[in-house]
C-alpha cells in the first residue's frame, strides 16, 4: 500500500525520497493499482470512482474531473488523453516538482486516465523550457515499456497504451487547452472557438481529455484508497489537497501541499513564515499574474482557500500560485510587469487582446517612467474594461484582472504626483 503522511498525497517524495526512483516507487506499492485496474476494473468504474471523489481540475478552472471524463464522446473514435504540463503561469511551479520528484505517481495517473476514457495514446505536452524534464520522462516511459507496464496487450488483456512527450515552443497561450491542442497538431498555438469542447472535438478533431499534471497525479491514490478516503481531505465541495505555490515577499517561499480550505493567513503566516523584516502585508495575488489583487486585510487572511470561498473576495483560486505583496511594493510597477507579460504572450488571434495588451503596455510604461498624467490611469482602466468580455479566450480577460483590481482597490498607488518625474528611483528595492 502506498504510504501517505499528513496531507502529502502528491508531494509524498518529501517524506520518502526513494519514490523518485522506479524501484522505490514499486517498493511503496506503485503500479499495483495500474495492474489491478487494467485486469479487474472497467473504465466506467474508474470514471465513477474519480467522479465520486469530487476531484476538481487543478489547472485553474476547477471543473470536476470525473464529469469531464463522462462528457467524452463515445460515438467518435479514437480517444486521446493530453496532459497539460505547459506550466507557464508566473508564480506557479507545482507541476514541475511533481514531475521531477514524484514522476511515477504522475505517470501512473496518466495511464489510469487513458484507461478510464478508452484512450490508447496519451500525450504529455510540456513547456519548451522543460526540455530536461522531457528527457527524463522519456527515459521513464521507456522504462515502463521495458517493464511491460506500457505497450501492447497489457497484463494479457487486449488493452494497449503508449505515452509520448511533446515540447512546446515557449508560448504561454499553449497552456490554454485548445491552443495546446493546436500546437500539438503542429499548428500555430492559437485557441479555438469553444464550443465544441475537447471531450467532443479535441486533438485531430477527436474526443480528447485535457487535464493538468497535478489533477492526474491525484488519480492513483483515489483509485487505490477510494473516493471516501480522498474526501477526508479538504472541504465538502472542494475535496482533497492542493499544492499551493507560495512566492513573493514571504520568509519561506515554496510549494506547500495542504488540504483545500486552509486559510490564506495559515499558509502565509504559519507555513510561509510571514513577511520578512517585520513589514506589513499589502496584497495577495491568488492565481499568479492572471489574478486580481486581494486586499490583504484580516478578512482576506481568514478566508479559506477553496473553489467557493475565494470568489467571494472577488478573486479566483486558479492554479493556487500565491504571490505575496508587502507594503513596500508600488503597484504601478507590479501592474506594468503583468501587462508586459500579457502583451508578450498574447497570441494575437483576437483584436481586443492583441491590441489592448499592446496599448496597456504603452500606458503602464508611461506611468512607470513618470510621463503620465492622472487621466492616463483612467485611460488604462478604461482600456482594460473595454477588453473585458470581448476576448476569444480567457487570456485576454486575465490580462485585465490585475490592472482593474489594483486601480480599484489600491487607488493611492495610482495617484500621480504632480512633478514626480520618475518612480524608477523609488523602485530600487524591487530589483534586488
Amino acid at each position: 500500500m502506498s504510504t501517505v503522511k499528513g496531507s502529502h498525497i502528491l508531494l509524498r517524495h518529501r517524506d520518502n525520497p526513494a519514490l523518485s526512483t522506479f524501484e522505490g516507487y514499486i517498493k511503496d506499492g506503485g503500479f499495483k493499482t495500474w495492474k489491478q485496474v487494467v485486469t479487474r476494473m472497467t473504465p466506467e468504474a474508474v470514471v465513477n470512482e474519480v467522479f465520486d471523489s469530487g476531484l476538481r481540475g487543478r489547472g485553474g478552472a476547477g471543473f470536476p474531473t470525473g464529469l469531464k471524463w463522462r462528457f467524452i464522446d463515445k460515438n467518435n473514435w479514437p480517444h486521446y488523453v493530453v496532459v497539460n504540463a505547459d506550466e507557464s503561469e508566473p508564480g506557479t511551479f507545482k507541476d514541475r516538482e511533481i514531475m521531477e520528484s514524484n514522476p511515477w505517481q504522475f505517470l501512473e495517473g496518466v495511464m489510469l486516465t487513458a484507461y478510464a476514457v478508452n484512450a490508447n495514446v496519451a500525450y504529455i505536452y510540456l513547456r519548451g523550457e522543460f526540455w530536461m524534464l522531457a528527457a527524463e520522462l522519456d527515459k521513464q516511459i521507456a522504462r515502463l515499456r521495458k517493464e511491460k507496464l506500457l505497450g501492447m496487450k497489457l497484463f494479457g488483456t487486449d488493452y494497449e497504451l503508449e505515452l509520448h512527450t511533446h515540447l512546446g515552443a515557449g508560448a504561454y497561450i499553449c497552456g490554454e487547452e485548445t491552443a495546446l491542442l493546436e500546437s500539438l497538431e503542429g499548428k500555430l498555438g492559437q485557441p479555438r472557438l469553444r464550443p465544441p469542447f475537447p471531450p467532443s472535438f479535441g486533438l485531430y478533431g477527436k474526443p480528447t481529455i485535457v487535464n493538468n499534471v497535478e489533477t492526474l497525479a491525484n488519480v492513483p491514490l483515489i483509485i487505490e484508497k477510494g473516493a471516501k478516503w480522498y474526501r477526508k481531505f479538504g472541504t465538502e465541495k472542494s475535496p482533497g489537497t492542493k499544492i499551493f505555490s507560495l512566492s513573493g515577499r514571504v520568509a519561506k517561499p515554496g510549494n506547500y501541499e495542504l488540504p483545500l480550505g486552509t486559510t490564506y493567513g495559515d499558509l502565509i503566516m504559519t507555513h510561509g513564515g510571514g513577511i520578512p523584516e517585520g513589514r506589513k502585508i499589502k496584497a495577495i495575488m491568488s492565481a499568479g499574474a492572471s489574478s486580481t489583487l486581494i486586499v490583504a486585510d484580516d478578512k482576506a487572511l481568514a478566508t479559506p482557500m477553496d473553489y467557493e470561498s475565494v470568489p467571494a473576495l472577488g478573486a479566483q483560486l486558479g492554479s493556487a500560485s500565491i504571490i505575496v505583496i508587502d507594503e513596500t511594493v508600488d503597484l504601478k510597477w507590479l501592474v506594468d510587469k503583468t501587462v508586459h507579460f500579457f502583451n508578450h504572450e498574447s497570441c494575437g488571434k483576437c483584436t481586443p487582446c492583441r491590441e489592448g495588451t499592446y496599448w496597456m503596455n504603452n500606458i503602464t510604461q508611461r506611468i512607470l517612467h513618470g510621463e503620465a498624467e492622472q487621466k492616463d490611469v483612467d485611460l488604462l482602466k478604461d482600456v482594460a474594461m473595454n477588453m473585458k468580455g470581448k476576448c476569444l479566450c480567457a487570456l485576454g480577460e486575465f490580462a485585465t484582472e490585475a490592472v482593474v483590481s489594483s486601480i480599484e482597490r489600491f487607488p493611492k498607488d495610482f495617484k500621480i504626483k504632480a512633478g514626480a518625474k520618475t518612480i524608477a528611483g523609488e523602485l530600487k528595492v524591487m530589483h534586488d
Binding site: L193, G348, T351, R354, G356
Partner: protein, 844 residues
C-alpha cells in the same frame, strides 16, 4: 442512393427575432447571415460567407438571448403578458459563430452592443496606420466604412506610440503586403487554405507581432492570389497590376466576361481615362462579378491579370494593312475590303475560314454564314472534338455545380482541371467536400486527386478505353471489347468507380485535352457520351457532358456550325483564299506556317500583328473584347453577354461587322451594325438558341451570399451582378442512341512519345502581352519520367534540345515522378510543334 437528400439544402426553418424583426431561416444558419437576409447589417471583419467562421476580430459582437425553458415542464416560460421570457447571456456573443435557434432574440442596437463595436474599432485603429489617402483600398474599405459608422470621433491613442512595420513587402510578384495595415483577420490565409487548397501563406509569431508570411518559393505561389485582395477588409494586400492605379471612386465599371477558358467567369472591367495613355479610356483592373452558378465571387489570376493583350498599346492594329511589294503597308478600309472581296470572289468554293475560339457567337455566326454562302469551309481553331455531343447530352437548363453533393458524382477524365479551367477545379473540389464522389482519371498526378474518391491511371491514348471500361464494369460483359478495355475492366478501382458512377444520382463528366489530338478527343467524347447515356444521366439538370475546351468559346463555334479541321495544314494549304480570324496557326506550329504560306490569298483579322498576320496578304484590324458587344457560350452551355468597356480605335468594329462588310461586297446580306442584331438572327436560326433574347441574358436574381450592397465588409470588393446571369441552353430534344465504337489502339512510336498538355500560364498571344504575369510564366519546357531522365542522365532544370515534328526547340527539362516511362509531356502554346501525340527526340 437515388433518394439521397442534398446535404446543402436544409429544409427545417428556425424562427428568431433580430432587432425586433422576425425572420425564418434554415437551421444551421449563422446569426450574421440571418441578419443579412433581412437587410440588417452586423459588422464583420474576419467573417466571410464563403469561409468557415473563426470569431477572431470580435467586430460582430451582439446580444443574444434564448427563451427561458422551465426545467420541469420543458416549456418556455412566459411573463404576465404571455410573452416568452428571454435570458440574455452575461457577455456579448459573436454573431458569426452562433447558429440560429428557435425563439432566439438578437439585439444589435443597444448601447452595450454599439459600445462594443466602438471599442473593437478603437483597438483595431491603435495599430492601423492613417494612410487612407494613399491606400488603394481607400474608398472601398470595410475598415474605413465601419469606422465612419461605428467608430469614435476622437483618438485616445498617442500617435507617436503607433507601431511601425514594413509597408512594402512583396508576398509574391503579384501581391504586395503592407504589414501596418493588416488587421490579422486571416481571411487571406483561410481563403488559401479552405477554398484554394494552396496554403502558401500563413501567420507567423504572436501577439502584436503576428504577421502574414509566405511559405512558398517563389512567394505566394498560387493561381488564386488575386482573390485575397478582394476579400482583404483593409488595404493590406494589393495587386501589382492595380497598385496606385486609380482611386476606386474614379473608376467606371462595365460588365464583361473572361475570355481565357471555357468557364466564362463573369467580370467587371474598371476603366478610367488616363493622361498617360494620351487621354484614352484604359482598363485599370479586372474584378470578379458575382455569378453563383459560374464563378461565385472568384477569379483566377490569369483572368484577373492577363487582360493587357486587349490594351491600346503600340502592338495593336489600328487600320487595315495590304501587302505591296512584299511588305504590309497601311491601306484604307475601302481599298482593303474591295481587294478581299475581289479575291474571295475569285476563290469561289476554295474559301476557307478559320475562326479562333475566343470570338463571340456573333462573329462565329457571320463567319460560318459567309463560308456556307460561298460554299467554302468553316473551320474552328480547336484541337478538341465533341461539340455536337455536348449539344445533345451536355448540361441543361438549371444546372449548377454547386448543387452536386452527397450521392452525386463527377468524373474528370484526361484533364488537369486546375490548369485548364481553374474555376471548375474549385467547384468540383467543393462538390467533393460536400460529399460528391469525384473520380479523376488521368495518366499522371493532378491537383484534383487530393479530393478524389477514386484515382484512375491509364496509358496515354487509352482515354476512351478507360471510359469504355467504366461502362463495361456495370454493363453485361462484351467479349468484343479490345484487350486494353478488358484489362482496365479487371482493375478494382475502375470497377468500384464504375459502380459509383452507375449509382450516382447526378453525374457530370468533364473531359479535357490532356494528351489528346483531335481523333483521340472525338473517341473520348463519344465514350463519355456513352457512359452518360448508358447510366441514364442525361436530359436532367446537373447531369451531362462538359468539354473542358481548349478555347473559351469553342462550344459557341460548334453551335454556330464550325468544326475543327482533321488536317488543318492540308485544308489551309489547299485554300484558294484563307480568311483567318483571331487565330494564329503559324504561331502555333511551324507546319501550319508552311500551310499558310502555301495558301492562295490569306486574310488575317486580329487585334495584334500575329505570326500568321505577318504572312498575310491583307490584315484587317478588329476591336478587342473590351471594346465590343457580344455573347459567349461557356462549356456549361451558358450563353452570357459582354459589354463594351472602352471605345475602340476610330473605324474599328467587332469581327462580325468586318465579316459582314466583306459578305456585303460578295452579295451575302449579313447584319453589320449591332451584335444584338446578329444575336437575334442566331436565336431565330440555331435551334438550341431558339427564343433567346438579349433581355433574357440580362436577367438577374438575388444571389446568396449577398455582396456588393456598398457594405464591402461582408463579401469583399467583388462586384454585384446587375447585368445578367446568362441563360443555360436546353439540351436538344432527340435522345441519342448508345453507339459503341471500338476505341482505337494508340499509335506506337519507336522512341519517346510526346503528349500535349495544357498549362494555365502559357506563352500564347493572349498571355504574353501582360507584363505583370511574366515572372510567373515558365519558359518552354518538357516533363520527363524519372526513368527516362535517369537513363539520359538529365537533371531537373537542365536545358535540352527537343525535336517534335521536325522542329527543334531548346527547352528546360522537368521531371514528373507520376509519369510512365517513355512518355514526355509537351505543353501547348510554348512554341513546341505539337497538336496530338507524336514522337519526340530529346538530346542534351
Amino acid at each position: 442512393m437515388t433518394d439521397a437528400v442534398k446535404p446543402n439544402v436544409e429544409t427545417t426553418l428556425v424562427n428568431l427575432t433580430i432587432d425586433n424583426v422576425p425572420v425564418s431561416v434554415p437551421k444551421g444558419t449563422l446569426v450574421v447571415d440571418a441578419a443579412k437576409r433581412i437587410g440588417i447589417d452586423i459588422p464583420v471583419f474576419c467573417y466571410h460567407p464563403k469561409l468557415e467562421p473563426v470569431g477572431m476580430c470580435r467586430m460582430c459582437l451582439v446580444d443574444i438571448g434564448l427563451p427561458a425553458v422551465n426545467r420541469e415542464t420543458g416549456k418556455v416560460e412566459t411573463d404576465k403578458q404571455g410573452r416568452p421570457v428571454i435570458n440574455f447571456g452575461r457577455a456579448l456573443q459573436t454573431g458569426c459563430t452562433v447558429e440560429v435557434a428557435e425563439g432566439m432574440v438578437v439585439v444589435g442596437y443597444t448601447e452595450k452592443v454599439q459600445k462594443a463595436r466602438q471599442d473593437v474599432l478603437e483597438f483595431l485603429l491603435t495599430s492601423h496606420p492613417l494612410d487612407c489617402p494613399i491606400c488603394d483600398k481607400g474608398g472601398e474599405c470595410p475598415l474605413q466604412n465601419l469606422t465612419m459608422a461605428h467608430g469614435r470621433s476622437d483618438s485616445r491613442f498617442i500617435f507617436d506610440e503607433k507601431i511601425k512595420l514594413a509597408k512594402h513587402v512583396p508576398l509574391g510578384e503579384m501581391i504586395f503586403l503592407d504589414r501596418e495595415r493588416c488587421i490579422q483577420c486571416a481571411r487571406c490565409t483561410r481563403f488559401q487554405d479552405e477554398i484554394a487548397d494552396d496554403p502558401v501563406i500563413g501567420f507567423e509569431a504572436r501577439g502584436r507581432s503576428l504577421q502574414i508570411v509566405t511559405y512558398s518559393e517563389p512567394g505566394f505561389d498560387s493561381i488564386w492570389s488575386g482573390n485575397t485582395t478582394d476579400i482583404c477588409p483593409v488595404g493590406a494586400l494589393t495587386t501589382t497590376d492595380f497598385r496606385f492605379g486609380a482611386r476606386p471612386w474614379e473608376l467606371q465599371a462595365s460588365a464583361s466576361l473572361c475570355t481565357h477558358c471555357p468557364v466564362g467567369c463573369n467580370t467587371t472591367l474598371n476603366t478610367r481615362r488616363e493622361a498617360k495613355a494620351g487621354g484614352e479610356m484604359v482598363v485599370k483592373r479586372v474584378m470578379p462579378r458575382q455569378n453563383e452558378e459560374v464563378n461565385e465571387i472568384w477569379l483566377c489570376d490569369k483572368g484577373r491579370f492577363a487582360h493587357h493583350y486587349a490594351a491600346k498599346d503600340d502592338g495593336r492594329l489600328t487600320g487595315p494593312l495590304v501587302r505591296r511589294d512584299g511588305k504590309l503597308v497601311a491601306a484604307t478600309w475601302e481599298k482593303a475590303l474591295a481587294l478581299v472581296a475581289e479575291k474571295f470572289e475569285g476563290a469561289g468554293k476554295g474559301l476557307v475560314t478559320l475562326a479562333g475560339g475566343k470570338l463571340t457567337n456573333e462573329d462565329l455566326y457571320n463567319l460560318a454564314g459567309l463560308a456556307k454562302a460561298r460554299g467554302g469551309k468553316a473551320l474552328l481553331d480547336s484541337r478538341m472534338a465533341g461539340g455536337d455531343l455536348t449539344a445533345q447530352v451536355g448540361l441543361s437548363t438549371g444546372s449548377n455545380l454547386a448543387d452536386l453533393g452527397k450521392g452525386d458524382a463527377a468524373l474528370v477524365v484526361a484533364c488537369d482541371l486546375e490548369e485548364e479551367a481553374p474555376l471548375w477545379w474549385l467547384r468540383v473540389k467543393q462538390a467533393a467536400e460536400r460529399g460528391a464522389t469525384v473520380i479523376v482519371a488521368n495518366p499522371r498526378r493532378t491537383k484534383l486527386e487530393r479530393h478524389a474518391a477514386f484515382t484512375l491511371r491509364y496509358e496515354y491514348g487509352h482515354e476512351a478505353a478507360l471510359v469504355t471500361a467504366l461502362v463495361g464494369s456495370f454493363s453485361p460483359k462484351r467479349a468484343d471489347l479490345p484487350a486494353a478495355v478488358q484489362a482496365l475492366i479487371r482493375d478494382k478501382d475502375v470497377k468500384d468507380a464504375g459502380q459509383a458512377i452507375a449509382g450516382a444520382k447526378d453525374l457530370i463528366v468533364f473531359y479535357g485535352s490532356e494528351g489528346t489530338g483531335l481523333a483521340e478527343s472525338a473517341a473520348l467524347a463519344r465514350a463519355c457520351a456513352n457512359l452518360l447515356i448508358g447510366t441514364g444521366h442525361i436530359g436532367r439538370p446537373n447531369n451531362g457532358l462538359v468539354a473542358v475546351w481548349d478555347k473559351a468559346n469553342a462550344q459557341g463555334g460548334w453551335d454556330m456550325g464550325l468544326r475543327p479541321s482533321a488536317d488543318l495544314a492540308a485544308d489551309l494549304g489547299a485554300a484558294k483564299a484563307a480568311y483567318i480570324v483571331a487565330a494564329d496557326p503559324a504561331g502555333d506550329s511551324p507546319a501550319l506556317a508552311e500551310a499558310v504560306k502555301a495558301a492562295g490569298f490569306v486574310v488575317v483579322q486580329d487585334i495584334r500583328l500575329s505570326a500568321t498576320a505577318e504572312l498575310a496578304d491583307v490584315v484587317l484590324p478588329a476591336a478587342a473584347f473590351t471594346e465590343r458587344d457580344g455573347t459567349f457560350t461557356s462549356g456549361e452551355r451558358r450563353v452570357q453577354r459582354l459589354h463594351p468597356a472602352v471605345p475602340a480605335y476610330a473605324g474599328l468594329r467587332g469581327d462580325f461587322a468586318v465579316t459582314a462588310q466583306i459578305a456585303a461586297r460578295l452579295g451575302v446580306a449579313q447584319e453589320k451594325r449591332l451584335a444584338t442584331g446578329v444575336f437575334n438572327q442566331i436565336a431565330a436560326s440555331v435551334p438550341a438558341y431558339a427564343g433567346l433574347t438579349s433581355a433574357a441574358l440580362s436577367e438577374v436574381r438575388e444571389q446568396w451570399p449577398v455582396i456588393g450592397r456598398g457594405d464591402v465588409y461582408y463579401g469583399g470588393t467583388t462586384y454585384d451582378n446587375k447585368q445578367g446571369l446568362g441563360v443555360q441552353l436546353p439540351v436538344s430534344g432527340d435522345s441519342p442512341a448508345l453507339t459503341f465504337e471500338q476505341p482505337a489502339e494508340p499509335a506506337k512510336f519507336k522512341g519517346l512519345k510526346a503528349v500535349p498538355v495544357t498549362r494555365l500560364y502559357d506563352r500564347g498571344t493572349t498571355v504574353t502581352p501582360s507584363a505583370v504575369l511574366h515572372p510567373r510564366l515558365p519558359g518552354a519546357f518538357i516533363a520527363l519520367s524519372v526513368e527516362d531522365a535517369d537513363k539520359m542522365k538529365i537533371e531537373p532544370g537542365q536545358k535540352v534540345q527537343a525535336t517534335l515534328n521536325g522542329v527543334t526547340v531548346e527547352v528546360e527539362a522537368h521531371i514528373d515522378n507520376s509519369l510512365a516511362q517513355g512518355v514526355v509531356l509537351a505543353p501547348r502554346s510554348f512554341g513546341l510543334a505539337i497538336e496530338g501525340p507524336c514522337e519526340i527526340t530529346v538530346k542534351k
